[in-house]
Symmetry: C2
Subunit: 199 residues, 2 copies
């Protein structure tokens, strides 16, 4: 057990410090209203350290984007593994997103509510990202198994997750005063009533 074995553990607290500060600032004021100097001050590090860990302002945003999207994908994978069928998976997915919104509003704001294409050059758009594809797959599977009515997959995904995503947006904007997770079942049952296969 050498000293270098600890390298990964302590690694770079500064890097995480910078990312934390950047996420909070980007989420609250927006990417363009946040100067690299704001991040520097908020993270309580020096200018030089920022450029030691990141190529620049955009690179910080990209690192956040990749990191948070990976976390989100892990969440989707967890939900689909632990639940069977579209109905259960969809509900669990929405509950997880609602809980994440309450626990980590900055993260959800950055992932769901930001216009990444404005600051991450040639980013294909978040809807074609892995976690979003996998959410769509939940509904597509439901169609293949006869659980969900046959329709265009984009339409199906919009019907299934549009209401929940809208609630998250409204909650983050301060319009909805109550915690989201409480309304999961009510929302999902009504959503499901619209898309379930008629038999």
């Amino acid at each position: 057990m050498t000293v270098s074995a600890n390298k990964k553990k302590r690694a770079t607290p500064l890097r995480a410090q910078i990312l934390d500060a950047a996420l909070h600032l980007y989420s609250s004021k927006g990417y363009f209203n946040t100067s690299i100097h704001d991040i520097q001050r908020s993270a309580d590090v020096a200018m030089g350290s920022i450029y030691n860990y990141f190529a620049g302002k955009e690179a910080i945003a990209r690192a956040l984007y990749d990191d948070l999207l990976a976390q989100m994908e892990a969440l989707v994978d967890d939900v689909t593994a632990k639940n069977q069928g579209s109905y259960a998976q969809g509900r669990a997915m929405i509950r997880a997103l609602f809980e994440l919104t309450e626990a980590e509003p900055d993260m959800v704001r950055f992932i769901l509510n930001a216009r990444h294409r404005e600051f991450l050059i040639d980013e294909p758009g978040i809807c074609s990202s892995k976690p979003f594809e996998k959410m769509r797959d939940i509904v597509i599977n439901g169609m293949q198994h006869g659980e969900v009515r046959q329709m265009d997959s984009w339409l199906a995904a919009s019907l299934a997750f549009g209401p929940a995503l809208r609630m998250i947006s409204l909650r983050l904007d301060g319009m909805v005063p109550t915690a989201l997770p409480d309304s999961t079942d009510e929302l999902w049952d009504m959503t499901w009533a619209g898309i379930k296969a008629i038999r």
Copy 2:
């Protein structure tokens, strides 16, 4: 009929020219990636003219915002006047929004898909704007008349319009290849199945 009677008609073509160019640039590249110089070039007017009609870059965005929101409000009023009941009004509303998305994508992008609070200082957020309130009223009225199931009004609005708004977003991002209006009835019938009162 004096010459000054024509003042309103001709008025200021430059002003409209500037607004048009700004809307297109703001919608395609985003507000912050658009310099006042970009607008000047694109509108083919001089710097001085811009500052003759507007106080600055933000004022242009605010003028657009107010103008487009008023148009949108007129649209909502028209739909509610010409249709009776939540079911018909909701469907007509969504069809109108879908048609608007195809006809004026820049407008819809600017109104629905931009984060105004990042560049319009102390703007209360678009969800508390008149047209959005009136859309919510459509559903609230439905609840009062027993057409729509009783629930929180934000939840009801999200269930009613969340799927449609999501489809618009996906369409504007180039994910949905087909024109939206075609899927109006299919979308609305499934949406309605979820929120209609059980009797």
